[in-house]
Amino acid sequence: MTITVRLDDLLHARRMTLTELAARVDITLANLSILKTGKAKAIRFSTLEAICAALECQPGELLGFDADPPAGQ
C-alpha cells in the first residue's frame, strides 16, 4: 500500500516547472523534489493547501492511494 503523488502530471497539465511551483508556493525546491519522487513521509496541510492553490486542483487530484504498489516499494 502506498500514497502516490501525481505532481508530475499536474505540472505538465498546467505547463509549469517544479522550480516555478517552488517559487509560487514558497516551498523549497528540495522539499518539492522529495514530494515528487515519493520520498516524503508526511505532508503538512499548509503545504497541500499551497500546492492545490497554485495548481488549481483538489487534494484528491494530487494524491492517490495504490493498494498494490510495484515490487520493490
Binding site: I27, N31, L32, I34, L35, K39, A40, K41, A42, I43, R44, T47
Partner: protein, 174 residues
Amino acid sequence: MTRSSAQALAVARPVIQALTVLNLLYAAGITLLLASSFFRPDWPWVPLGYDMHAAHPGLPLGLRAIMVIGLVGAAIVHLILRRLLAIVDTVRGGNPFIPDNVRRLQAIAWGVLCIEALRWMVAGISHALSTATQPMHMGGGFSFAPWLSVLLLFVLAGVFTQGARMRDDLEGTV
C-alpha cells in the same frame, strides 16, 4: 535560543578543550608522582607534608592507591569531556536530537556516578589512614550536587530520546 545559551554555546568548545588539556596535565603529574614514589624514599609523602614517623604504616600504599584512583578518575573525565565536545558540536551543527547524543549523555551520567564512587573510595582510604597524630581528610563529605547531576543527565538523555524520535518523525515531512 536565548542570548545566554547562545553565549554559553560559543565558549563551550574552547572551554572543554582547555579542560581536556588540564585533565591530561593532571594525569601526567599524578603518573609522574606515582612512578617516582617507587624510586625515591619518602617521596612524595615528605614533600607533601606527611610526617612518616607519626603516620599510619600503610600511608605509602594508601596514597599510591589514591593516586591510582586519581588516574582512573582522570580517564573517566577525559571520556566525559570527549563526549560532551561531540554533543556541543552537534548542537552547533543544528542537529542535536540524534541517538548518538542519547548514548553520550547516558555515558556521561554513568561517568559522573563513577567519579562520585571514586571520591568515596578516596574518602574511605583517607579515613583508614588517618591517625590522631597525622589526621587525613581527603575526598570531601557528602554533597547533593553530583547525585543531582547524575539524575539530571539521565533525565536529559530521556528528553533527547524523545527529541530524536520527534525529529525522525519530522524528517521527510514537507
